[in-house]
Symmetry: D3
Subunit: 64 residues, 6 copies
């Protein structure tokens, strides 16, 4: 607690995922007053074919 | 807002995903009174091995 | 299948939720080739205090 | 109803997933008083690179 | 790991939620070979107004 | 993108939620190279009756 889910586009390295997990955990401890062991983060990579905004897939060319 | 997640079996084409995103966005605007840019849809494909109903995996032969 | 989750701001009536469920189910059948009985939709109302974009809660006054 | 999502590390066999779905469905019927056909379970396998606890990826060597 | 989410209709008692959590944890240990401390379960109660199947809200009278 | 969900125990103030959203957005921009407007965070408060670890509800007295 907190249990955090992060949906993001593919392409981030393990170093980025580790650094982001470290930062979010540090800020959870600082702001939400929990202990690091209680902070769980799960990343889900979502391809541009599977992510739509305003009725368009992110993989669609702009201006379509 | 709305933020929509769609879990579905594999096999739909990008054309189907695009057409469904267009339709759901149009209906969100019409019925839920939001603007297209606020409608986010994420598809998650779930294999039949990972989807169970009534205690059976969808990949199990019928009648098992 | 599909199993759909809709996060949205509070304030929609049951009539709107019913109409949106009908429309999304109809479009699932038409575009994703499934049967109505397989379409499950769950709404989650999220208060503006609990929804943040660009680091601001939606309940924060604009321009803050 | 209930609709259940299970996030777990990769490596379980279909037999384990089937057995767990059977057990969870049986316990849903026994304890939550529902019928087997109403129990839906979706598994999501999460790699150790995508799962962090206490600011560390599960794929990181211990003691890092 | 596993991290489990259970969406269900309102009305179960804490005793039922505790008994179901005990049963699911026991079966996770037995079948998925994990330790009890790794099994996290979160319940989300979903009202019948917010749950739709086949385009109908569960709160709608049957036969509508 | 990223789209972030935070499940946490009740009791945090709007100031804490705002500060955490600011921090997570800042770190998303810094580490994941996205723009603030793309960072969406939704909080879900989960009562101790609805959160179980190792087969016990968090609302259960310790040592039960």
């Amino acid at each position: 607690m907190p249990s955090i889910r992060v949906e993001l586009l593919p392409g981030r390295t393990n170093d980025q995922k580790r650094a982001f997990a470290e930062a979010v955990t540090r800020e959870s401890v600082r702001i939400l007053n929990c202990v690091p062991e209680d902070v769980e983060i799960i990343y889900t990579e979502v391809s541009r074919d599977d992510w739509a905004v305003a009725g368009k897939l992110l993989s669609d060319p702009k201006g379509d």
